[in-house]
Symmetry: C3
Subunit: 347 residues, 3 copies
């Protein structure tokens, strides 16, 4: 990268305060930045870092006070502006695997869009569709009758079973499995009989799915990952789960079968949600929480089992003072015994 501060300011529709002719050659976090780098400050609270960073320029909000010696670009949303700058250096995935590699196995009636890239040792079974400009990395398997949208990026060694629907601009990281059978059995006299899982999975537009994630197909109907939802690594989504739009599911979290999650829900790391319940919109499930009952919209839950976060915080504070409570009760007991004795003596 080699851009003047002026050029970057134009890109992000910001206003330079300082020397706009500076050459920016790199991008970095505010603490790690070196001369030549541009960085950003999202929160005016940390404005003192502006005097400490070695960065040549900093993207700041309109109301951030900056030292006169430091070149800054003022803009409405520094985080978002910074992502635009970063996109200048974002890797261009489309440079590898132009066209269909000659080792890719392409089934019957496969429909490939324009400028599709299919890497070595990819297997597309019969009737698969891949939309324009989508990229599929080596070793990925896509089962028959599955459909991949446009501009979607699927990394190496992903396994997508048959009849799965993947939207446009979706990113799927390596090792992820979509459409494996749901975990459904009927137990008769101690033996578990498999219930055929004949439903599908629908991953809607603009979803990102991390590495080694598992999303099971529905028993009937479909498992759904809503538009714009982002899923971190090693997350488990069971059969018939419906996840709303724009959710964030952090690493190693899991959602059990048939549960419905609303929009804009955040499920933090290693948290779990039991099956067959509904979680409302804008809910936050904190890390390692175990949700065992329905959760209404706009609430924060924590603890295992989960309660409203304020309640859990209060109970945790009490729990932490338990040794003192035991001591106090022991002391009160002695004082009561003393009172009882004194009162008896009075008679």
């Amino acid at each position: 990268m080699r851009k003047t501060l002026k050029e970057i300011a134009e890109l992000i529709e910001g206003e330079v305060a300082g020397d706009s002719s500076i050459i920016i050659t790199g991008i970095s976090g505010i603490r790690e930045a070196q001369a030549g780098d541009i960085t950003f400050l999202a929160n005016p609270k940390y404005a003192s870092l502006l005097g400490q960073t070695a960065a040549s320029a900093v993207i700041v909000s309109k109301d951030t006070e900056a030292p006169a010696a430091k070149s800054v670009i003022r803009t409405t949303n520094p985080s978002l502006a910074f992502t635009k700058v970063m996109s200048l250096i974002a890797p261009d995935e489309s440079k590898y695997y132009k066209g269909v590699h000659n080792t890719a196995i392409i089934g019957k009636n496969v429909l490939l869009g324009k400028e599709v890239s299919i890497g070595p040792y990819v297997v597309l079974e019969d009737n698969v569709e891949v939309g324009d400009k989508s990229i599929i990395y080596p070793g990925t398997f896509i089962g028959h009758d599955s459909k991949i949208g446009k501009g979607t990026l699927i990394y190496a060694n992903v396994s997508i079973r048959e009849r799965i629907i993947i939207g446009s601009r979706v990113i799927i990281h390596s090792g992820t499995v979509i459409g494996s059978d749901g975990f459904g059995f009927v137990t008769v006299e101690g033996k578990h009989h498999k219930i055929p899982q004949v439903g599908i999975v629908e991953v809607q537009d603009d979803v990102e799915v991390g590495a080694n994630v598992t999303i099971d197909r529905a028993r009937f109907e479909k498992t759904v990952i809503g538009r714009g939802t982002k899923i971190d690594n090693l997350v488990q989504i069971a059969h018939n789960v419906i996840i709303g739009d724009d959710c964030l599911l952090s690493g190693q979290s899991g959602v059990a079968g048939s549960t419905v999650i609303g929009k804009n829900v955040i499920i933090a790391g290693q948290a779990g949600v039991i099956g067959h319940i509904t979680v409302g919109d804008n809910v936050i499930v904190t890390a390692q929480t175990g949700v065992s009952k329905p959760v209404s919209s706009d609430s924060i839950v924590s603890g295992s089992p989960a309660y409203p976060h304020m309640e859990t915080q209060k109970i945790r504070a009490c729990t932490h003072r338990l040794p003192k409570l035991f001591d106090l009760v022991s002391e009160l007991k002695i004082r009561i015994e003393d009172l009882e004795k004194k009162l008896k003596d009075k008679k």
Copy 2:
């Protein structure tokens, strides 16, 4: 699917009450069902759903009261009967990959049974055996001297290391790793020295293993998954673990090294069992539980660390009332101080 209700009744050895000439074209859950569908009702307690479902017919138990207007098939076990009906529409995995694909790498002395299907880019190292009618999906690796039974189904991108034994009618979902080295080190002066893991894994008949599961090989001897046990996605089974027959291990649960699990044990989601202990038969470990001590047969445990479920329930109820207890003790303290003062004043 297109069958009369009479034909379905014969298949499941049930008795039609209502119009046996109805044409059934689909299968669905009782709440989602539409005209043309058949569904089932396992629990007579929910008999009121029979009046609400749009399904054309319902499989019910012999003692379920049904509205006269609704066609039903009465049978002993509606769930089991329904799985038979579902098997009519279960996908037939054997239609892909007839025979050995010309890109599969077949090592020396590999023994393939009758009607075996081996997909593209499968690698079978030397001395591997695959039993009759088994199916191996693309990109799967099977190490030397491993043996796969009959009628076993292994999905795409599975990795099975050397000398592993997989039984008959086993299902292994994508991304799963069987036979990776156990996590064993001897630490000398702060450095961890690898202990060779020279044992094997034995996955017995009728086991199902979910997606992205990991089952480590034993240090010596073998790690065992007992006959009929079903393992969900992202489960970790450490080295030298012995799991009994007909267990159910839900998503993201884990069993640490050398632990022995009995028969018919249920380990719910995200629960963990410590190493080197024994868990008896018919035990239920609830979700997110952390088992740190041996568990005797026929018990239910919960909590982290785990206690008998009734005990944990009682303690959780107490914990939840802690803020009130703190208030009560504060009040009692004041009343004691008051009593002490009054008694002193009396003197």
Copy 3:
């Protein structure tokens, strides 16, 4: 294996007490050992097992008292000595895939060291380097500009993205993903915008990474796994995490973004560490613990949220006695009421 006890004693620099001409044909744990086997006893506390084992010989520490009838080898560190004996029977991974398999896809400017083994269907993109004697199993993908050290072993179906640095003598088990994008988004008006993850991962020398592990690339700079650290299966390491040397991370544990872990830290199974904190050297995080605050060196933490282990143990003991405390407080309340009544009556 077929060695005399004398030969084994020479290998481990130990001293035979008993018949040094015995032929050893196998290796086993002390409880499972049979005639012909050699085993070891690390802890003199369990010396009684020496009289019970069927093993033909036992490696013991210099101060262990052994029955005269049992042949032993005395040595300083029996565990370490035993690992040397085990290495006699450790599988020799170098016997498969001599040289580069003709189905491996080798990009432009790929540098392969001496005696490198590359299995079938491996994909090495442009500018990849693989050091001397390293072995790459079938189906593994390595992105452009990544560098693999010497004597490193990468099992089947591993996915390593572009520009990743893997050291020497590293072992990476199947299904693992290194260099997937960190989970980073800027949320503007409810929509999550992807932050390009342009950093790398550095896995230093002598690291072992289990099966189906995920290690994300940094946003900038690098995610680091320190020299000699061992990672178990299904572990999640988020972007920009720095793990020190010689740590042990057990199965299904996770470390969130930008956290710095010291040296010789042990993180037990299913434990999690929150992002953006520092954990000191020699810390032990017990199983299922949730670390939400910085941890100073040389401490043990447990609980979710985590506290010093002694504190958590005390609180857990109190929690367990809660039903009794409730009973006691109820009883005290009655006695206070009784005192109040008596005192009132006195007036």
